[in-house]
Symmetry: C2
Subunit: 231 residues, 2 copies
Amino acid sequence: MPQTPHIERHFTASETVRDVVIGMADGLTVPFALAAGLSGAAVATRVVVTAGIAEISAGAIAMGLGGYLAARSDAEHYASERRREEQETRSVPEVEAQEITGLFEAYEIAPEESAPVVAALRRNRQAWVNFMMRFELGLEMPDPKRAMKSAVTIGGAYIAGGLIPLLPYMLLGKLAVALRVSVVVTLLALIIFGFVKARFTGAAPLRSALQTLVVGGLAATAAFLIARAIA
Amino acid sequence: MPQTPHIERHFTASETVRDVVIGMADGLTVPFALAAGLSGAAVATRVVVTAGIAEISAGAIAMGLGGYLAARSDAEHYASERRREEQETRSVPEVEAQEITGLFEAYEIAPEESAPVVAALRRNRQAWVNFMMRFELGLEMPDPKRAMKSAVTIGGAYIAGGLIPLLPYMLLGKLAVALRVSVVVTLLALIIFGFVKARFTGAAPLRSALQTLVVGGLAATAAFLIARAIA
């Protein structure tokens, strides 16, 4: 969609990209660390695969459903606050008008300077309520279709991310070999993921790649050492 | 801290409560489902405990560090957008003033009605930049100390949540017994967690309890069935 240069500069990640990032960041990290940890405990490769797949299923459902419920509750919160603002503009219009004046005073705008804006809003209830939602409460109208899309995107990204560290264990029989391949492949994937993610979030690509690498590497190292210590 | 009734009604969860909820929701769900899944695959109880502890360590680090980096990147994003707005109010003040007029026009406020507000903001650069950050970009100044606190809170809540389903496996030797105790204890914990969470988010308590129960129950059931099928 065409945008003016000014708007484009303030571009931040779309909600879908954000959902992919949320799902994949955890998917690449936690199943990877779990598999590495179980390898540290020297269990059978079959157990690593079973645990990994159980974790990926559980994590995808928990994160996906969590995303669904979060998006739904955002939408409900918006609707209930909106009803409340709408009712208040009817029942206590003077109080609501005073709130607008107060909002502007926080920016050192005198009541007489904001008075024409307040008067204009009072003439138009829909605009008034929209204004209060955005400017008093800082709430944006959520996309009603977002909940389901968000659930599927986060869950799918978690599964895709989680299969990367797990595939070596599924394809290679020997645990020590699978662990090494999984570590190399997943650290590479974490670097690439960090790089690509930076393109959408506007972060510095090298630093972003380093950050995802450190999070994944630390989590896996800790899981490996702790599991080996208690096994 | 004392608040006026009007503000209190719009109360939403504090950031610390939100962090506890984020960490504990996943902590109660994913280690629970993983342990149930491995029980479905009939591995040794010791393996369930090892996998559970590896998962809790990995999850706490991944989520805690993830929270740390997210809070840090929010703060950096705010700072960089703020510098940009500050520079624009210097280099292209007419464009920025026109943007304010445009913001108001979206609420059907005519340019001549918003003119006094625009003029007041142009007299005071700090207020002007603050106004653009909040009203054009919808960004709030993040708390600089939040990143570390957020990391520790999320990670700690994940560990606390994860130990609830895992303790039965650690204390009871027999897998079938531990699984049953873990399921009962964790489903109860999910219900209580959903109830308590609702007090902070303003959701309906019964519905919130049901939701956390369904997410945790579904994740664990899926992990159990999938792990049993592939074991």
